[in-house]
Amino acid sequence: MQNSAENLPIKSETAVFKKFVTFWIHDELFGVDIIDVKEVTPLMTITPIFHAPDEVKGYVNIRGEIQLVINLRVLLDLPDREIGSDSRIVIFKPIIAEPFGILVDKVGDVLEVNSELIESESRSSTQKIKTSLVAGVCKLEDNLLILLNARKFLEQS
């Protein structure tokens, strides 16, 4: 893990802390609100769905439930790559959309971030990334955490 609890900004009494599930895609650290996340599962056979939009990776069976897996790389306009051994699927709760998950290169820790340190929009570092999905950025000690709004993943069609 490149990131650990020590990297966290120091807690202050008044600040509101939010927890994020973090993951790596294309060597960038992303985070989604932990409230939206149902579970992180190891990779299993993904059934491709032909004719589906590019960002759709396919279907997986998670304990009898069929989940749609979205390839976040496509949504973020990042170059695609093969699924590796560290790849995981982050499954979101059904409250935010019909059940779906995203394919990530590797999961990181759950980070607690002082909401004061979250910059709403970054001018600096995320040019590569489609900004419509970005909820904010947060500078960690050795990394930049890009916070994504999972509720917007399936909005575009």
């Binding site: 299993m44 056979t45 059934t47 491709p48 769905i49 032909f50 004719h51 589906a52 759709v56 396919g58 279907y59 997986v60 069976n61 009898g64 069929i66 749609l68 959309a97 019909e98 059940p99 779906f100 399936l154 069609s157």
Partner: protein
């Protein structure tokens, strides 16, 4: 309103069921007229009655009022005082509608406006009870009500001056003569009550029957008393009502004391009515208290008791106003009070049971089933659990260690139990279609009235069961279809009469099981769909161009009705005709995995047929593989599986109009390759299809070449080139195609999960499922795949051709263009050949003057065209093919040197400019003169001895011009055939036998011909435009009354059903059209009979 949601929703549900039954009963009462079945009346009465009871209990005042009025009306019908005629039934049905809509919005039901219908019903009741006078009285009553409202307002205003209030209000009411009517009516009730009491005295058991009537009477007394502020009357009536209710529900014994108290109460009530004007002044306290003491659970209205107790100390003004408010309150409490609750509830239950017993003998179907209400959500959950169970079972079946017998046994049991469980759970969701069908009685009736048509709806198969969800989604489409049938289908009575039909139109609504599916058909005997008209409309609306329509078959034209935006109604009525219609119906039906088929005969009626799956949740599927992915194909759509081996792969997959097709029996099947379909996001165009066709042709060639190279390089010797190709023949609606897959894995029962909403635009998938190995597989949508792959080549169907109605009938022909020598271009109809075989010249063996080659291990005689016809020599420079004709009695093959093309075109055969035996004629194909071969004649030419045998030793029949007259020349044959090819062909056959042949291109022309001259034999095709063979033949037999002329059907239809139909139409025999020998011998037999 009671805030008990559970109770409320139960009540609403039950009431809706009751309303449905009542509606049905009303309709049947109407149709029964005067001879109405008392049990039907009773049932309707009961239904309304229970609604009334429940509504009162739950505080749904308006519902109660309306139901009460309807009940009163039904009661009169029961007593034969009112006829269940159209007007009255319409009123009752309206009542049902109002009740329904109030139940739909139960929370606000009390704000619902029922005045109009309520008054109408009451008026009817009043008229029926007391003739015209009743009407007047009611009008007055109405008037009075309004006045009362006004006075009430006054009263409230004047409350500040209490001294006047009483005197002001009282006269207004008491001076009303209308009070007579209220007095008269109650008298009847009072008599009933006293009858009831005396009956109870004699025999408590028998008296029970009276109680419900007595209670009804009391209810109505209470209601009118409340309306007129007759507080004492109300209080007394209520007390008696309560007591009787207690007796009825067995909560108090029928003791003398009780009866005495009631009689006392009744006397008091009588007294009150005797002096109704001053009734509120009369002291009722004694008997009231007596009643209260008798009836344990009724504490009485403390207001009344109190008011009487304090009578002396308080002023009259205060008392009366007090009682007004008290009594108002008490009406509220009556409704809410738990005792009343219990009693109403219990009063109803035994009553219903009794009624059931009496009605049970006559109609056991509805009431006697033991049942329990279960929430649909619970059933759904159960369903999905059963689905999961099936998955686990499937996984277990794959995991099981076959060597472990204990485990194997157990798994087998699990397998069985799971299957049974799943079946049972499925059944819980099944409902008879009758539930839905019976709705249409009403719709048809109302529409009939509205449109001024007499329409009977005949429902058949109402007990066929369907999954609840399917049933629900059927409602709208079926309604639409029924409406269409009423509006567009059935003609107005005068038109029907003019067309020699019965004035009453009929719509059959039929459901039945067939092939594991449920079929539903809406058939009307109306005017049918006019294809010409459809074409016109389609062009007018710009949905299709005229050119598009030229090559369509009858069926395809009918199906144009399903296009979005199509309507044929001349005027847009409010019933139908807004052009949003059949396309929506189709898409709804397809959504639930069903298909829709249209059929129509102009002037006779039309039919829409739906094919529906029994259930949606678990379906048997064929599992196939393409590349490394598995897919499921619903077995409902699967017709058959075909595997081609080795050479067949190259040859049987043909190329027609630039796409791959397979000739499955007599049908051209468009072929789709699933791998290609899936790998391309956009729908396939004709060019794409051509590209696919070429790609695979090349691939095959390459594979073959590689094989040949390998073979040359190695010592494989006799090793043959091996390959195979598997495809599934799929059918959805009228679309049928072959889907080429890599491998068929087997069948499995799968649990259908719908596609993620994010993917709802994907048409190729019907859903997804988890397979036994835990992987997700997609379920293919057979229709979607067909559309994506552009598999709509229905018009390649042979012989089914309808070209621009009557004028022309030279339908398109699939022909093969090829060369033999260097010069001439030959053509042969694809119908006439079975296949083309590539041969090695070295394999040809000579026997005498003849040449043979082994094809499929059968020695086949080779025909060389230059030996038989005056054409150029065989061109040796190319490869050598052998054309194998169909239906030759000996194996023959025509040698050809080069396949030029295969195409569909309208062939205009020229038989004049150049003709010689062995040729059908010539035609210009792509501006080149092409010689059309007659394969049969060629065979005959090659083997004169063959023909000699056939015709009984006479000389060859081929050069028959001179012979025509002498042998069979006196026999005249009417040949009816739409396709010119066959016409020429069969005519040739017959002529060669010396018959005189008159041809007609369809049934209609033939019929005219038939009227004009006499014939000895009819030879007719079946599938023809304008008038088909069936129609033609039955016209000859039935209309022209010619039962003696022998008739032969030429057909490619061979199913038992078709054969029956052919025989039913009046044909004596049927024969395949290109089997010359059989045809001739049959004809000879027929003529010699």
């Amino acid at each position: 309103m009671i805030e008990d949601n559970e109770l409320l929703s139960d009540f609403i549900e039950e009431s809706k069921e009751n309303l449905a039954i009542a509606e049905e009963d009303f309709l049947s009462l109407e149709s029964q007229g005067k001879s109405a079945d008392p049990s039907t009346i009773n049932r309707a009465f009961r239904c309304v009655h229970s609604i009334k009871g429940g509504a009162g209990f739950l505080g749904m005042v308006k519902i109660g009022e309306l139901a009460h009025a309807m009940e009163a009306m039904m009661d009169l019908v029961r007593q034969n005082k009112l006829q269940p005629d159209k007007k009255n039934i319409t009123m009752m049905l309206k009542g049902v509608d109002h009740l329904n809509s109030m139940f739909d919005n139960s929370v606000q039901s009390n704000d619902y406006n029922i005045d109009e219908i309520h008054t109408n019903i009451l008026k009817t009741v009043a008229i029926a009870v007391s003739g015209k006078r009743g009407q007047e009285q009611l009008d007055k009553l109405q008037l009075k009500k309004e006045e009362k409202k006004a006075t009430q307002k006054k009263t409230t205003k004047k409350k500040s001056s209490p001294a006047k209030s009483k005197k002001k209000t009282e006269p207004v009411e008491t001076n009303e003569p209308a009070d007579d009517s209220t007095a008269e009516d109650p008298m009847v009730h009072l008599r009933i009550i006293s009858e009831c009491l005396s009956a109870l005295k004699k025999d408590p058991e028998a008296g029970q029957n009276w109680i419900s009537h007595a209670i009804e009477g009391l209810q109505s007394i209470k209601n009118s008393a409340k309306d007129k502020d007759l507080n004492n009357v109300f209080a007394m009536a209520e007390a008696i009502d309560e007591t009787l209710g207690e007796i009825y529900t067995d909560r108090i014994e029928v003791e003398d004391m009780v009866i005495v108290a009631c009689e006392d109460g009744l006397d008091t009530l009588q007294l009150l009515f005797d002096d109704i004007e001053n009734s509120n002044e009369i002291d009722i306290l004694d008997s009231y208290q007596q009643m209260v003491s008798v009836c344990k659970n009724f504490e009485g209205d403390p207001g009344i008791i109190g008011a009487f107790e304090e009578e002396d100390t308080k002023t009259i003004e205060i008392k009366s106003s007090d009682v007004i408010s008290q009594s108002e309150e008490s009406t509220d409490t009556t409704v809410v009070s738990p005792m009343e609750t219990a009693s109403t509830d219990l009063v109803q239950t035994p009553q219903r049971v009794k009624n059931n017993e009496s009605a049970g003998a006559k109609s056991e179907t509805k009431s006697e089933v033991e049942s329990i209400r279960v929430k649909v959500s619970l059933l759904n959950h159960l369903m999905s659990l059963a689905g999961e169970m099936v998955l686990v079972r499937n996984q277990q079946l794959q995991l099981v260690d076959q060597s472990d017998s204990a485990m194997r046994n157990n798994t087998q049991k699990l397998d069985m139990v799971t299957s049974e469980l799943q079946e049972c759970v499925m059944k819980t969701r099944m409902q008879p279609v009758g539930i839905l069908f019976n709705k249409f009685n009403r719709i048809v009736r109302d529409l009939g009235n509205k449109l001024g048509k007499n329409i009977n709806l005949v429902i058949i198969g109402g007990d066929v069961e369907l999954d609840k969800s399917i049933l629900e989604s059927l409602s709208d489409p079926l309604t639409h279809m029924i409406r269409n049938a009423c509006d567009h289908g059935i003609e107005a009575p005068n038109i029907r009469k003019a067309n020699n039909k019965s004035e009453n139109g009929q719509i059959d609504l039929r459901a039945w099981h067939e092939g594991g599916q449920v079929h539903i058909e809406v058939r009307d005997d109306g005017k049918g769909i006019n294809p010409g008209y459809i074409k016109k409309k389609v062009v007018e609306k710009g949905l299709r161009s005229e050119q598009d329509l030229v090559s369509l078959s009858h069926k395809e034209i009918l199906n144009l009705v399903l296009l979005p935006g199509f309507t044929t109604a001349e005027q847009v009525s409010d019933v139908s005709g807004r052009g949003v219609g059949m396309d929506v119906v189709t898409s709804n039906i397809e959504k639930i995995g069903g298909t829709l088929d249209l059929d129509s005969v102009t002037g006779k009626g039309s039919a829409v047929r739906l094919q529906l799956p029994l259930t949606l949740a678990i379906i048997p599927c064929l599992i196939i593989r393409v590349k490394e992915h598995n897919y499921a194909i619903p077995q409902i759509n699967l017709e058959e599986l075909v595997t081609l081996y080795n050479q067949d792969v190259d040859e049987k997959i043909e190329n027609a109009r630039g796409r791959e097709v397979f000739r499955l029996r007599d049908q051209l099947l468009p072929m789709l390759r699933l791998g290609e379909i899936l790998s391309k996001n956009e729908s396939f165009t004709d060019e794409d299809l051509a590209a696919v066709s070429i790609k695979y042709r090349e691939k095959q060639k390459q594979a073959y070449q590689e094989f040949q190279e390998k073979k040359a390089n190695s010592k494989w010797g006799d090793e043959k080139f091996r390959q195979s190709l598997t495809f599934a023949v799929l059918k959805v609606g009228s679309t049928k195609y072959g889907l080429i897959v890599d491998e068929v894995l087997g069948t499995e029962e799968i649990v259908v999960k719908s596609m993620h909403p994010y993917l709802k635009n994907l048409n190729c998938y019907a859903g997804a499922t988890v397979m036994g190995d835990g992987r997700v597989s997609l379920i293919l949508d057979v229709l979607g795949v067909a559309q994506h792959g552009n598999a709509s080549i229905d018009n390649t169907k042979e012989q089914v051709n309808d070209v621009k109605g009557a004028e022309t009938s030279d339908a398109k022909q699939s022909i093969l263009l090829f060369k033999y020598g260097r010069k001439e271009l030959f053509a042969v109809s694809l119908n006439m050949i079975s296949r083309i075989e590539k041969i090695e010249k070295s394999m040809i063996e000579e026997v005498g003057e003849k040449e043979f080659i082994a094809i499929d291990e059968v020695s086949t005689q080779i025909l060389r065209l230059d030996h038989l016809l005056n054409v150029s020599e065989f061109d040796d420079s190319n490869e050598t093919y052998l054309l194998l004709p169909k239906m030759a009695n000996k194996p023959f093959g025509i040698l050809i040197s080069k396949i030029e093309d295969s195409l569909d075109c309208i062939v205009d055969l020229n038989t004049e400019s150049y003709i010689e035996p062995g040729l059908l004629g010539t035609s210009l194909i792509n501006d080149k003169m092409t010689l059309f071969l007659d394969t049969y004649q060629l065979i005959e030419l090659a083997n004169p001895e063959l023909n000699a045998q056939l015709t009984g030793g006479s000389e060859s029949a081929i050069f028959s011009d001179e012979k025509e007259q002498n042998l069979n020349g006196n026999k005249k044959v009417l040949l009816v055939e739409d396709v010119m090819f066959f016409r020429t062909l069969v005519k040739g056959y017959l002529k060669s036998e010396g018959y005189e042949v008159i041809t007609a291109e369809n049934g209609k022309v033939a019929l005219e011909e038939f009227k004009r001259q006499e014939f000895d034999l009819i030879v007719s095709d079946i599938e023809m435009p304008v008038m088909d063979g069936f129609e033609f033949m039955s016209a000859v037999r039935n209309i022209l009354n010619n039962t003696t002329i022998p008739a032969l059907a030429l057909t490619a239809l061979e199913s038992d059903k078709d054969i029956k139909k052919i025989q039913a139409a009046g044909f004596d025999v049927y024969e395949a059209k290109i089997d010359k020998e059989k045809l001739i011998s049959t004809v000879t037999n027929l003529l010699n009979q």
